[in-house]
């Protein structure tokens, strides 16, 4: 166990727990498809879970793919994808109703 623990340093484990928590939160917010009147509007929830997804992708890149240690160009390409695709998807999603 100590050996396994040494392979998974605390920051990586914390990031993983955050990813799991965000997944459960997104499921909890979105799985009703707005059938139950909640405090948040349906389209707000949809936009929120898409933004959360992009934040999760960035965490996967940074901590699991180890892009935090990568040269700037590669990090920018990856972060650019997260931000660019995130903005595009949220805009199209909100414009699509």
């Amino acid at each position: 166990m100590t050996t396994l623990r040494s392979l998974l340093p605390t920051p990586v484990v914390v990031v993983w727990v955050v990813l799991v928590a965000l997944t459960l939160a997104s499921w909890s917010l979105g799985h009703d498809h707005g059938s139950v009147a909640g405090p948040l509007p349906v389209r707000g929830v949809g936009a929120l879970v898409l933004v959360v997804a992009m934040a999760k992708v960035d965490l996967v890149g940074r901590w699991f793919m180890e892009l935090r240690l990568a040269p700037r160009g590669l990090r920018w390409a990856f972060d650019g994808w997260c931000v660019g695709v995130g903005v595009l998807l949220v805009a199209l999603y909100l414009a699509g109703s």
């Binding site: 166990m1 100590t2 050996t3 396994l4 623990r5 040494s6 392979l7 998974l8 340093p9 990586v12 484990v13 993983w16 990813l19 799991v20 997944t23 459960l24 997104s26 499921w27 917010l29 979105g30 799985h31 498809h33 707005g34 349906v42 389209r43 929830v45 949809g46 936009a47 879970v49 898409l50 959360v52 997804a53 992009m54 999760k56 992708v57 996967v60 890149g61 901590w63 699991f64 793919m65 180890e66 892009l67 240690l69 990568a70 040269p71 590669l74 390409a77 990856f78 994808w81 695709v85 595009l88 998807l89 199209l92 999603y93 414009a95 699509g96 109703s97």
Partner: protein, 200 residues
């Protein structure tokens, strides 16, 4: 679970490091761009008939999608552990192969759930021909699943490499690159799940 030192990869680590070798990033970023295009096409198509898309989406099971997200997150953590194990020379190195096999188990479980989902959907009359939402649902999840199956092959190769007593710098680069491919399979599903299952 006592206080432990970092895995012994810290010495001699350069300031910056391209994970894997540069070629894998052409594949990973290229695949991410193709998927981004598919995400956009799906949303544009959905805008043509939001009511039909919402009705179709309501037939999906967000719980199964969430379980699959969690399975891939577990597999990613296992792969991170395996790569770090292979950078060590101590007893932790022996954990690399079992960690990779466990990650493959997560991928197989993902596939089993996806088969159950597809079976239920097709049995209830939802096929790619039903409407545009299901066309893109099957296209996107199918294309993702194809990448996951490729990823399982990559992890199998990595498992064989992990059983060797040592790896060259080049071999380690291939291991890191293969690991990044698997993380890409994970992150693409992280976007696909809310896009197809949650965002109405």
């Amino acid at each position: 679970m006592g206080v432990t030192t970092e895995a012994s990869d810290a010495p001699a680590a350069p300031r910056w490091h391209v994970p894997g070798e540069p070629g894998i990033w052409v594949v990973v970023l290229g695949d991410m761009l193709v998927f981004a295009l598919l995400f956009v096409v799906e949303l544009v198509s959905r805008a043509h008939d939001p009511a039909a898309a919402a009705a179709a989406q309501a037939r999906l099971d967000p719980g199964l999608g969430a379980v699959n997200t969690l399975l891939l997150l577990v597999s990613s953590l296992l792969v991170v552990g395996a790569v770090r194990a292979l950078r060590t020379t101590g007893p932790a190195r022996r954990l690399a192969a079992p960690l990779l096999v466990a990650a493959m188990g997560c991928g197989v479980a993902f596939s089993a759930i996806k088969i159950v989902e597809y079976h239920g959907e097709v049995a209830s009359g939802a096929t790619p021909m039903t409407n545009d939402f299901f066309l893109y649902y099957f296209l996107l999840t199918g294309f993702h699943w194809f990448h996951l199956l490729l990823g399982l092959g990559v992890l199998a190769v990595l498992t064989a490499a992990a059983r060797r007593p040592s790896l060259s710098a080049r071999g380690m680069g291939y291991v890191e690159g293969g690991a990044c491919f698997w993380h890409m399979v994970d992150l693409l599903w992280i976007v696909l799940y809310p896009l197809l299952y949650l965002a109405r």
